[in-house]
Structure formats: C-alpha cells, structure tokens
C-alpha cells in the first residue's frame, strides 16, 4: 500500500512539471505581443515598448523566461498579473472561493438530481421510466451550457424577473443575495454533471443489484425498496462518489463559459480574460494551480478507491 502511494506520488511530479512546460510553450505560440497589448494606445512608441519588455523579461530568450518563472514558482511566488498589477496568488485566493462556491453548489445539485434518478432508473431497469430517465439524462449532457445559461437568464430574469441576471455576492456578505445570484449558474453547471452521476449511479446500482447477497436479501423476504436502498445503494455509493470527484475537471471547464455568460468573477473568467489580454503570468499560474488540484484529486480518488476496495489492490 505504502509503495503504491509512493509510486503514484512520484508520477505526479513529472506530470505537473510537464503541465508547466506545456502551458508556457503554448503561450509562446499565441500571436500578439503582450507588450503591445499592455501598451494600449501608446503602442506606437518604441521607447514604451522597450521599457515594458525589459520590465517583464520579454526581451530574454524563451528558456530563460521559463526558468525565471518556474524558479519563482518553486519559491512560492506565482508572480504578478501584467494587466492588473496584482499578485497572482492573491488573485487566485480571491477568485477560487467564488468558483468553489459555484462548483460546490453545482455538485450538490448534481447529487440531489443525479443519484435519486440513477437509483430509480436502476430499480425500474428496462421499464419505461428507465428509458425516460436515460433520455432526460442525455438531454442534460447534450445541452451546451452557455446556451442553457442564456435561456435561463431570458426566462427567469428578463421575462419573469425572479432572479438577478448576473453578478455575484459572496456568501458571507449576504447569503440570500448570494444564493439568488448563484443558483442559476450552479444549475447550469450542475446539470451535465447530474447526468453523468445518474449514469454512474445506475451502472453501479445494477452491478450491486446483481450480487448474490441481494438475492439472499430478497429470498429472506425483505421488501424491494429496502433491498434497493439499504443494501445495494450503500455499496454502489462508494464508486459513484469517487468517480464523481473526478468530474471536478469537467466542472472547471464548464465554469469558464458559465462565468462568462453570468458575469461571475471567478476562476474561469479570470483565465479567459487573461488569454485574450495575453496576461501570460496569470494564465500560467492559474493553469498550473488548476492542473495541480486536478492531479492531486485524481490521486486522492485512486487511493480512496483502492483503500475502500481491497480487491483492486495490485498484487
């Protein structure tokens, strides 16, 4: 067990390093000179451009720039946003909770919708309800989330006036307004995850329901719902949750467009703005942090899976 853990941890380091090289290299391919973008209306003045380049190390060779950046990162310094002049670490600390709140709510919505739907679907296997649930689930997966967001804004905010169409109020400032501003984007984000969770749950439940101990429970005369909920569900829950945790990656990707549509100052918006403004340090820093979280989560999920299911441990 310990050697497995050590082995996996060892794999994590080169992966993260590779991510850093990947994202750094990708930025170099982006057309457009960050110095020109930052110079704005002064971009015709070569003195200004030279000054900006010198300040941002843009006049050095690419490998030197990379080493300079990664060296700082290893010392805990993620750098400063070129456009906003704010330290990136504090930008991330300010925006991460926003995306986390959104993601957390989305995940809860997904759990509340997806798991019961999956259980129901498995219990009614191959009967009409199953087909309907499957279709609805796929529909949720198939809806482009920026379109769903726009449609929701149109219906709920513009036509009905029930909820504010945009913006964000932090939870600790005013929890009612906070809920009002985040419930729609959370639903948009959560609906495709709900669909995935539903399918996982259904699949895990079906496997669990096929087991011998279920047949035994039925033979003992236990009522069907008790069989389903008490016995099968408990065993199905574990793989579902561990697999569900991996969907955090999907959440982050989905958050980009959802935050764009709902004007929520979160991670996704930060990174899209940074790409379009050629704010390299922000893109690099944010992608590194995101990838790092994702990789660690993967690791955690793998470990959890193995710990809980001893049968899966490699000999």
């Amino acid at each position: 067990m310990r050697s497995y853990l050590a082995g996996r941890l060892l794999q994590v380091i080169p992966t993260i390093l590779l991510v850093s090289v990947l994202v750094f290299a990708l930025q170099q391919f982006l057309p457009g000179d960050p110095a020109v973008v930052l110079a704005g209306e002064e971009r015709g003045d070569p003195v200004v451009l030279q000054q900006i380049r010198a300040e941002l190390w843009l006049d050095r060779s690419v490998p030197v720039q990379y080493l300079h950046w990664i060296g700082n990162v290893l010392h805990g310094d993620l750098g400063v946003s070129w456009r906003l002049r704010e330290p990136i670490a504090s930008l991330i600390l300010a925006k991460l909770p926003v995306t986390m709140q959104l993601g957390g709510m989305a995940f809860m919505i997904a759990l509340l919708i997806g798991i019961p739907a999956g259980i129901l679907s498995a219990a009614q296997r191959n009967r009409p309800l199953d087909y309907v649930a499957n279709l609805v689930g796929l529909a949720g997966l198939s809806t482009p989330n920026f379109w769903l967001g726009i449609m929701l804004i149109l219906l709920v905010s513009v036509k009905l006036g029930w909820l504010p169409p945009s913006g964000y109020v932090p939870l600790w400032e005013d929890w009612r307004q906070s809920l009002a501003t985040t419930i729609m984007p959370a639903f948009v984000l959560g609906n495709s995850i709900a669909a995935i969770l539903m399918r996982h749950t259904r699949s895990a439940m079906l496997t669990a329901l096929d087991q011998d101990y279920i047949r035994t429970a039925r033979a003992k005369g236990l009522r069907e719902w008790r069989v389903v909920l008490r016995h099968a569900f408990r065993n199905a829950l574990v793989p579902v949750v561990t697999l569900g945790a991996l969907e955090l990656g999907t959440l982050l990707s989905g958050a980009v467009l959802t935050e764009f549509v709902f004007s929520i100052p979160g991670f996704g918006k930060l990174i899209v703005d940074a790409v379009f403004n050629r704010d390299y340090p922000v893109v690099q820093g944010v992608v590194l942090v995101t990838a790092g979280m994702f990789i660690l989560l993967n690791l955690l999920a793998d470990v959890l899976y193995v710990v809980i299911n001893p049968r899966l441990r490699v000999a």
Binding site: L22, P31, Y131, L138, S142, P144, S203, I271, A291
Partner: protein
C-alpha cells in the same frame, strides 16, 4: 495472465441487431441522417440565401415567410441554421478524425510497446488532460488564427489524449486474446500483429468514443465560435449565431433559441447513437 478466447465471429451482425432494438438509438441515427441531409442539400432545401441581407426586415419574429424569423442584418434564420449545420457537422467529424488520427497510433504504440515509452506517453496524456479542455482549445485556436479549419485542428489536438487512453486500454485488452498471443509467438513482426490482429479489436471502443467525441466537438466548436474564434462572418455557424444573439435577448429571443436548439439536437443525436453503440457492442461500462 491467462489468455481469453476472442469474441464470437460476425460481431458486426450481432451488434447491428442489438442497435436496431433500441428505439432511442435508432431515433438518434435518424436525426443525424436528417442533419447530414440538410447540411449537404442546404443550397437546395434552404428557403433563402443565408448571407443575403435585407435592411427592411431586421429582427422580425417568426412568421410563415420566415419560419424562424430574421436576424440583425435581415437574414433568414432558418436558412442560416441549415447552412450552419455544415460548419457544425464538419467541425464535429473532422475534429474527431484528427483526434483519432493522432490518438489511435499513439495509444497503440503505448499499449504495444509498454515500458518507458508507455510511461512517457502516459505522463503526456495526464498533463494534457489536467489542463481545462476549453482553455487549451481557446489558446490553440488563438495561436493558429481565427478560422473554422484552425478551430477544428485545435479541438482535434485537445481531444486526442482521450483517444490515446481508449486505444491503449483496448490494445492492452486485445493483447491478451489467444490468437493474438499465438500470432506473436509464431514470430510475426510487431507491426503486422498490431495492424492485422489488434487494430480490428480496438475498433468497437474507439467507435463508441468517436461518436461521443463528435458530440463534444460540436459543443466545443460552438463554444469557440461563441468566444469569437472559429467560423468567420458572414458564413453562419450555430455558435457565432448565439454570440450575435446575446445582445438582443430581450427584443429578439428567437435569435438565441433556435441556434441553441440546433446544437442541442445534434449533440443529443450523437450521444444517443454513441450510447446505443456502446450497449450494442456490449462493452463494460466505464
């Protein structure tokens, strides 16, 4: 590890019968066929030219004359949706072809060669999958320049790692089959074993992945167009139609409803078919 017997022969026929028995999958297939027909026959089927502007008919609500209304330049929305199907379907298929074209050989290599080659490829795949997919696609598309072709390349490259994983998994699986082991034992060169024996076996899971990937690629193309990369004006694309529609949500909601519904239908159809294929080919669920 002990070997397993290879699956029964003529799996294609069994799969086809299973597929046919699921109404949802057949419905999806029918929708795809309809979309392909509309995309190909658009010049004949569309009621108007999709780029002809008419300044007297701006943002008109749906009527009998314009079944889906007109947009901000007076162009017929229904015709633009029909022609837009071309961009979306093309983007979906070509991106996946690129992704599979890169992913399958690499996955085969990883599964077959094993050792440090597998290790390196594995780390690369992990690294690419760790970056948020949309960010990679945006950056690639920006790097290549705005056009539909470049958007397809960007999506293809970003989606390749998934195919690497699927191909590698299927290769490892297939390598355990009796007759494959036999082929290797009798001294066949590795490339021949790979092409003749392994490749046909990885087709089913790759096919399923490809169908689902087309669905994801259509959404990705729409997302890129929505952010301004991708299809250039005035050529219609469902995603860029949504981008233009955002300004007129209060006045002309049909401009946002129809393109989004089109994306939804196309993606749903591919997902249904992909699901049906997965059940028909009787693969273990993920």
């Amino acid at each position: 590890m002990t070997g397993q017997p290879a699956p029964a022969s003529s799996p294609a026929l069994i799969a086809w019968r299973r597929f046919r028995a699921r109404p949802a999958a057949v419905l999806g297939f029918a929708v795809i066929a309809l979309l392909v027909f509309v995309a190909v026959a658009a010049p004949l089927v569309a009621p108007y030219d999709p780029v002809t502007q008419s300044y007297s008919a701006i943002r008109k609500a749906p009527t009998l004359q314009h079944l889906m209304g007109t947009d901000e330049n007076g162009r017929d929305v229904l015709s633009r949706i029909m022609f837009g199907a071309r961009a979306s379907l093309l983007a979906g298929v070509v991106s996946v072809l690129i992704a599979a074209g890169i992913g399958i050989p690499v996955g085969l290599l990883a599964g077959f060669a094993g050792g440090w080659v597998d290790g390196v490829i594995g780390r690369l795949v992990d690294a690419m999958l760790a970056c948020p997919f949309l960010i990679l696609a945006i950056a690639l598309a920006a790097a290549l320049g705005p056009s539909l072709t470049n958007a397809m390349i960007a999506i293809g490259i970003t989606a390749a790692p998934i195919f690497v994983r699927v191909a590698r998994g299927a290769t490892l699986d297939a390598a355990t089959y009796d007759y494959v082991e036999a082929a290797r034992a009798t001294g066949n060169p590795p490339w021949r074993v790979a092409l003749r024996h392994i490749l046909p076996n990885i087709v089913p899971p790759v096919l399923v992945q490809a169908t689902l990937a087309i669905a994801a690629a259509i959404i990705a193309e729409a997302s890129l167009s929505f952010l301004g990369q991708g299809q250039q004006p005035p050529a219609p694309s469902w995603g860029s139609m949504l981008l233009s529609a955002q300004r007129f949500l209060g006045d002309a909601p049909w401009l946002a409803i129809f393109p989004g519904a089109a994306i939804f239908l196309a993606v749903l159809a591919f997902n249904l078919v992909g699901d049906g294929l997965r059940d028909a080919l009787d693969l273990r669920r993920r």
